[in-house]
């Protein structure tokens, strides 16, 4: 069990079952945990997203990293030094990504290096070209998620090519190899309609959970195409009920099939009458909204720390994470930025934290630079600021 002390108590990582538990200070002490004489500087990320390559031949239309076949592959010693830094910073989970991380022939060594440092490595892959040899390199990962936006046309609508069959083959092969596998599903206006069928298909292939990701305007996704692909206001407002239906549909199945949403989808829960005032429940269930530069950090292929994988990197070198993360000026500014109304009075604000900053700044354009803006696609924002939303071309969904 790994313990990490905070000013309010401690995070504990359990491995069986895998979870993070936040204990109040008194509760941690009552369970025999002794805090250090001096508590480490905070905040520090709980999870770090590590780009281990920017090489990828898939050419997905919306790739946030703009990965290419001739992308960079950082040398292994550089990545191991970064893993050292993550361990020193008490990070719990390191998510390997890219580009396509399975192009690395030393992936197993890197995963083992993470394990040796008491980090839990997890991995995202397109699944394209996943051979038995490559699958064997994935055994040390806590979980492997395959990008799978849906069968056939749904997948192609997101990525620009029909890779669904390859992704399905990968899910099947990973399951057969006994590697914990999930799927990452990008939610667009097209894939949202196919979501129940997509999840059912993923489960039937052996996936044990699905993580839903909001399509974001970053990298190759930062184009006018974003407005055509993103969820409609009606779809965004229906996320809560949709998740409810899906959860109940899979609730009694064996083996279990879990549902996750990414940070950028949390604002959409504000439209759900049963959840809109339950910030306390979301907190208790460890649901994270925007944790950029706080509970979450990313490391680019160049080794720089970014608040998240979609935001520009800071000037902080990842090998100095422990010393520099709490006080880096760029990160401090991001943490202290407070979204204006209607976020400030929102019962979900403590979790949501103003929604997705990537979306807010893309939609806001040059005028948004240096400003703290609410997530323009949040149903609460749409409902309470119609004039601004109309300028952005949105309409609040009908009650």
């Amino acid at each position: 069990m790994k313990v990490r002390w905070e000013s309010w108590g401690a995070w504990l990582r359990t491995d069986t079952p895998p979870a993070l538990v936040a204990l109040e200070d008194d509760e941690a002490r009552a369970r025999g945990l002794a805090p250090p004489a001096r508590r480490p500087a905070r905040p520090m990320p709980l999870e770090v997203h590590l780009a281990v390559t920017s090489r990828c031949g898939a050419g997905c239309h919306g790739c946030y990293l703009d990965a290419r076949p001739d992308g960079e592959e950082p040398p292994r010693p550089q990545l191991e030094a970064i893993l050292d830094a993550l361990a020193a910073a008490d990070v719990f989970t390191v998510a390997f990504g890219g580009g396509e991380p399975t192009t690395r022939t030393d992936l197993a060594d890197l995963a083992m290096a993470a394990r040796a440092r008491r980090l839990v490595p997890v991995l995202t892959t397109s699944g394209l070209g996943l051979t038995p040899t490559k699958i064997e390199r994935l055994r040390a990962f806590g979980q492997v998620n395959v990008s799978y936006d849906g069968a056939g046309s749904a997948y192609e609508a997101v990525r620009g090519f029909d890779g669904a069959a390859s992704a399905e083959s990968a899910i099947r092969a990973l399951t057969k190899a006994g590697i914990p596998v999930g799927v990452n599903v990008v939610l667009t206006a097209t894939t949202f309609a196919h979501l129940p069928a997509t999840l059912r298909r993923a489960r039937d292939l052996g996936a044990r959970e699905a993580q839903l990701l909001r399509y974001k305007p970053a990298g190759r996704g930062a184009s006018l195409d974003y407005h055509a692909k993103k969820l409609t206001p009606s779809q965004a407002a229906s996320l809560g009920p949709t998740l409810r239906e899906l959860t109940l549909a899979f609730a009694d199945e064996t083996p279990a099939f879990g549902l996750r949403i990414d940070c950028a989808l949390v604002p959409f829960l504000s439209a759900d009458p049963e959840l809109a005032h339950r910030g306390d429940l979301l907190e208790a269930l460890g649901i994270f909204g925007c944790e950029a530069g706080d509970g979450l950090a990313a490391v680019t292929v160049a080794g720089a720390v970014a608040p998240c994988s979609f935001l520009p990197a800071t000037d902080l070198d990842a090998i100095h994470l422990a010393e520099g993360f709490p006080s880096n000026p760029g990160l401090v500014a991001l943490r202290r930025s407070e979204a204006p109304e209607p976020c400030r009075s929102c019962p979900l604000q403590s979790v949501c934290r103003g929604g997705c900053k990537v979306v807010a700044h893309f939609v806001g354009g040059p005028a948004a630079a240096g400003r703290s803006l609410p997530d323009p696609e949040c149903p609460r924002v749409l409902a309470e600021r119609p004039s601004r939303c109309e300028r952005w071309g949105e309409r609040a969904p009908s009650p």
Binding site: S7, A41, Q211, L259, A284, L285, I287, F288
Partner: protein, 83 residues
Amino acid sequence: MSRPLPPGVRAVRLGHGANCSSIGSVVDGLFLAATAGGALFAAVLAALPPPRPDAPVARPRRSDANDDPDADAALDVPRGDPW
């Protein structure tokens, strides 16, 4: 649904997911009935170190999460901790 965790436990984040871009969170507990939702956490809570026999009963959660005499104020950057 009432708060599904015992006193002294602020939060439980299930699983670790596997996404290299945005951070994800399990949402099943938001929608399952109290008994089913509680079952999700029972195994996790059972894996924690047990309370010492002489430990006092957990107090209600403090409202000021940053009131910690051990913290080094010069190093800690205030986050506006929501808890």
